[in-house]
Amino acid sequence: MLKLQNITYAYDQEPILKGIGFSVNEGEILGILGLSGSGKTTLLKIISGLLVPDEGEYLIENQPAFIKQKKSDKVASELGVVFQQFNLFPHLSVLDNLVMPLRLRTKKPKSECIATAVELLDVLGLKDQIAKFPYQCSGGQQQRIAIARALVLNPKILLIDEPTSSLDKENTKKVEELLKSLHGRGLTLIIITHDLPFAQAMCQRVIELSEGRVVFDGLAESYFNA
């Protein structure tokens, strides 16, 4: 489904990714692990089309993801992304953070969009927060809102950066169950995380980044048993 080959990226001359290659198959759950600063978030921004790689090839469903430095429409329409810093819309209520993109993307009537959004927020234990603004929510609530916002559009592939960093055990479980059920319905998942128990519970395959290179790429089982 996704295929990256020899991708390099540098921030102002400082090389971060030094030739990354791997592929993601449809319906897979891939974990991306690595130390803080190893380039996981940078890689996520490349996969989601926000950064253009300096070199290398990136194919999405066998077509180039970047055509003349501009990302193809496919990238945005098939991918959902949860950012490490959430990037919620501060001027919109929690509900509108979901409803606004949903309405624009699906053109469905407002009431229908609201119903979809409320349902999803409820699953993540956020029913009481829908009228609040992001700044009025706790850290873990914000994280779940960000997850809900990415999922409400029903992406084919979900990229998610540290999804459980601010979550307690119980909420982690909720997220885990939600993602697994969506995976059961065909969602492909790419999860960046340092939460090893969570990774072990979720991922089928794992790659590990270190100093800008892939140092492990294989089954989760063999990674965690090594």
Binding site: K45, S48, G49, L50, A76, S77, L79, G80, V81, F83, Q85, N87, L88, F89, P90, H91, M100, P101, L104, R105, F133, P134, Y135, R149, A150, L153
Partner: protein, 213 residues
């Protein structure tokens, strides 16, 4: 009091003229300034061109610009220039330059993450701008915009320079004729009420946009 009633009509007439130019300028200069501000923020090659434009327009007095449109252009392209049209066009261009810089400022301080969040949600550029960027930009720029909106109230008096009968000129005319300053007092009250309305609209917008977030 009787005297006031007597001099009110020409002042009110002038006020109507000033108000018309004011509303036209706001209605046209805000969107024009917004487009220029967005271009300067987003389209690298447009930046120096807009930079020169805003420099020249902001760098020369509005009065001089009115002279140029009204008295110099007809020398180059033989034509009779309509006073009202010339005045309005000049005001729109002048204020668009100031608005453009304010909008550019308001855009520059929106975190990159907001654009990115819109992009990965698959929204079109136009949708991102209208639903994510502009609401946050208005918050950042509201008070400076009110400043300019108030300045415009008073700048309409420059219309007199191209012989348009705006409020202050009509009032001054009465003062010159009757040698009583009542007309200026009335004009002053009009200005103050007008600017008070602008400030009030601003305060209401402030409540919606300037709250914590």
């Amino acid at each position: 009091m009787e005297y006031w009633l007597e001099i009110l009509p020409p002042i009110a007439q002038g006020f109507k003229t000033s108000l018309t130019v004011y509303l036209l300028t706001m209605a046209l200069a805000l969107p024009l300034g917004l487009v220029l501000g967005l271009l300067a923020d987003m389209v690298k090659p447009a930046r120096p061109i807009i930079g020169v434009f805003t420099w020249i327009i902001r760098g020369t007095p509005l009065l001089l610009q009115l002279y140029v449109t009204m008295y110099a252009i007809p020398l180059l392209i033989p034509m009779r220039m309509d006073r009202f049209f010339a005045g309005t066009v000049t005001f729109v261009i002048n204020y668009a330059a100031y608005f453009a810089e304010i909008f550019r400022s308001g855009l520059a301080i929106i975190p990159l993450g907001q654009w990115q969040a819109g992009q990965v949600l698959g929204l079109k550029k136009r949708e991102i701008i209208f639903n994510i960027i502009l609401p946050q930009m208005f918050r950042n720029t509201l008070l400076p915009l009110i400043n300019e909106a108030i300045t415009l109230v008073k700048d309409t008096s420059l219309l007199a320079a191209i012989a348009i009968g705006e409020m202050l000129r009509n009032a001054k005319e009465i003062v010159g004729k009757d040698l009583r300053v009542d007309a200026l007092v009335i004009a002053g009250i009009f200005y103050l009420l007008f600017s008070f309305m602008v400030v009030s609209v601003g305060k209401r917008l402030e409540k919606t946009y300037l709250k914590q977030m």
